[in-house]
Subunit: 326 residues, 2 copies
DNA sequence: ATGAAAGCGCTAACAC
DNA sequence: GTGTTAGCGCTTTCAT
C-alpha cells in the first residue's frame, strides 16, 4: 500500500493538516518541521493521491480527445501535438477513438464527464448535437460547427480547395477530378469540395467528383474507387484528393495504370502529413497548420475552463506546398 | 453544478445509501422506490462521480500508455489497437508521448502513479530501470526487457531480420545494406540487426550497416544517411530497413538516384504499417502482428492487476509480406 | 505555528 | 427494506 498523508503525519508526529500545508506551501511552518516532513516523504516514497485531490478541488487536470482513429496519420499528428501542448499546460489527455461508432462515442462522452475531465476536444461527432450541448462541459471541435456557442477550429477549407484547384488549372489540366471522403457528414471540410466545383466551373473546366466511403481510412475502397474513375474517364489529367492518404493511393493507382505523375496526371493532396514528403514523387499538397490547430484548440478549451470568452469561429490559413506532383 | 447522490436522495426523500444501493444493484429495494430513484436520476441528469468512486474503490479503470510519439505510424497503430481493446475491457487510456525525453517520461510516470492508474504499458524507456521497478505498478513493455519480472511483448525480431535478409539473398542480392534506427538503446529490435549480419556473413555476402539518429522519426536525417550510403556504395543491390518509414525514404532516395526498385535494388521493410501497402511499388516487409501485440500487452497488464501469474517473455511471430520491392 | 473537524461524493458495514 | 455511520485521502476553515 502506498503511503498516505496520514502515514507521514504519524511518522513525524504531527497532524495531517500540517503535512497538507507543507504539501501545498500554505501558511507558516517552522523550518525544522518542514524538513522533517520532507524527509519522511522521501523515506516513505510518498506521493499525494491525485484522485483525492481531484475530488476535493473539483479540478482533474484532465481533458478528453475524441477522434475517429489515431491510426489515421492526420489525427495521429494532431493528437501528438495536442498531447504535447497539454503536457506543457499540466493537462493529461485521455484518448478516445470513436471509430465513427455512435455508441462508443456516446459512452466515451459519459465516461469522460463522469471522470470529471475539464473539457473535451472533438474531432469526431456522429452523436446528435443535443447530446453534446447537454453535456455541460467545455467543448472544442475540429472541422465541425455543431452549435452557436461551441467553438471550432479548422483550416480554411474553401481557400485550400481553391488553391488546389487553381493550381491544377494553371498547370494546364483540362479534365479534373476530385476524390473525397464522404460528403454526407456535415463537416466544414466539405468546403474543399465546394471550392473545387466552383473554381472549375468558373474556369469552364470539365470536372467530376467521386466520394469514397464514410470511414475515411479504408484502402481497399480507395483503390477501387480510383480505378473505376480511371476506367471510366481515362482522359483525366488532374486530381485533387481531399487527403494525403487518398493521394497516396491515387499515386499507387496511377502507377498501376501506367500514368506518370505529373506528366500524365497532376495531383494535389490535402493535410500536409509527414508522409506526404516521403512519397514518390513528393506530393504537392495543401498543408494544414496542424500544430497551430492543435494548440489553438487547447487554448480555446482552457479559456472556457477559466470562464474566459472565446471566438466561436477559428479558421487558420493553409499553405500550398508545391512539390513534384504538379 | 452536477447533481450528486445527495440531491437524488433529497429529492426522493431517502438516504444516500439507498440511492447508492440502487446504483450498485445491491441488497433489496422495493420496486416503487427503485423506480422513483431512477426517475429522479433521469430528471436531474445524474451521473455518478467516478472520481469519488475511484477514491473509495481504489480502482480507477485507467491505464497509461507511454510511447515515444504517436505521430510515428507504428505507434499510432499500436496505440489505436490498445485503446480499442482497453475500451472493450472497460479501461480508459491516458496517452503519454515521451518524445524520448527523460524528464517528461519521469514526470509522466509519477503523474500516472499519482492518478492511480492500474498499470502502465511502456513503448518507451529512457529512464533508468530502477525507476520503473520502484514504481510499484503493473507494467508491460514493448521490445524491451527491463527486468526479470517485468513482462514484455515483442515480435520475433531475430527471425524477422533473418527472413528479410534471406529473402534479399535468395533474390540474388550480392551487396546488401541495413539501415536501422539507433542501436544504442538496449532494445530487442536490435536483434533485427544481429540477424542481418549473421545471415549475411553465413552466406558470405558483402554487407554494411548504417544507423540513423536515435529519434526514430526524423526524415531529414534519413535522407542524408541514405544518400551518403548510395554515394559511397553505389553497387548496393539490396537493403533491409528496420522500419517501413525508413523504407519509404529509401524508396524516395532510390528514385533520386535513378535506381529502380526492385530491378536495381531490392528492399525489405519492417513493421507492416498500413502505409507500406500504399507505397509505389508496394513494400515487401516483415509484418508485425500489431493488433495481437497490443492485445497481449493489455492482457498481461490486466492479469497483473488481478494478481494472476504471467509469462515474462512474450514473443509473437512475424509474417513476411512479399510485395513488389523484392 | 499547529491541531481539530468538517466535507468533497461515494460505498459498505452495521443497525433496526 | 431502509437509515446511520464511518471512512477512502486530501484540503481548508476555524480555533488556539
Amino acid at each position: 500500500m502506498a503511503a498516505t498523508i496520514k502515514d507521514i503525519a504519524n511518522k513525524v508526529g504531527v497532524n495531517v493538516s500540517t503535512v497538507s500545508r507543507v504539501l501545498n506551501n500554505r501558511g507558516y511552518i517552522s523550518d525544522t518541521l518542514r524538513e522533517n516532513i520532507y524527509k519522511a516523504m522521501k523515506e516513505l516514497n510518498y506521493q499525494p493521491n491525485e484522485v483525492a485531490r481531484t475530488l476535493f478541488r473539483k479540478k482533474s487536470n484532465m481533458i478528453g480527445l475524441i477522434i475517429p482513429t489515431v491510426a489515421h496519420p492526420f489525427f495521429a499528428e494532431l493528437c501528438s501535438h495536442i498531447e504535447d501542448y497539454a503536457y506543457q499546460h499540466q493537462y493529461k489527455m485521455v484518448l478516445c477513438n470513436s471509430q465513427h461508432d455512435k455508441e462508443k462515442e456516446r459512452m466515451y462522452l459519459n465516461y469522460l464527464k463522469a471522470n470529471q475531465v475539464e473539457g473535451i476536444i472533438l474531432g469526431s461527432h456522429t452523436v446528435d448535437v443535443e447530446e453534446f450541448s447537454k453535456i455541460g462541459l467545455p467543448l472544442v471541435t475540429f472541422d465541425r460547427a455543431i452549435g452557436d456557442n461551441i467553438p471550432y477550429v479548422s483550416s480554411d477549407n474553401y481557400e485550400g480547395g481553391r488553391m488546389a484547384t487553381e493550381l491544377l488549372i494553371s498547370s494546364g489540366c483540362k479534365r479534373i477530378a476530385m476524390i473525397t471522403g464522404s460528403l454526407d457528414l456535415p463537416m466544414l471540410s466539405n468546403d474543399r469540395h465546394t471550392a473545387f466545383t466552383e473554381v472549375a466551373s468558373r474556369h469552364g473546366v470539365w470536372h467530376t467528383v467521386v466520394e469514397t466511403d464514410i470511414f475515411g481510412f479504408n484502402p481497399e475502397n480507395y483503390e477501387g474507387v480510383i480505378s473505376k474513375l480511371f476506367e471510366s474517364h481515362p482522359e483525366i489529367d488532374g486530381i485533387f484528393a481531399s487527403s494525403d492518404v487518398i493521394a497516396a493511393y491515387i499515386l499507387k493507382t496511377c502507377s498501376k495504370y501506367n500514368k506518370s505523375v505529373p506528366e500524365d496526371v497532376k495531383l494535389v493532396g490535402y493535410d500536409g502529413i509527414a508522409f506526404s514528403e516521403a512519397l514518390v514523387p513528393p506530393l504537392t499538397t495543401v498543408k494544414q497548420p496542424i500544430r497551430q490547430m492543435a494548440e489553438l484548440a487547447l487554448d480555446l478549451l482552457i479559456k472556457q475552463v477559466n470562464q474566459e470568452p472565446v471566438n466561436v469561429t477559428n479558421i487558420l490559413a493553409n499553405e500550398l506546398a508545391i512539390r513534384q506532383t504538379t
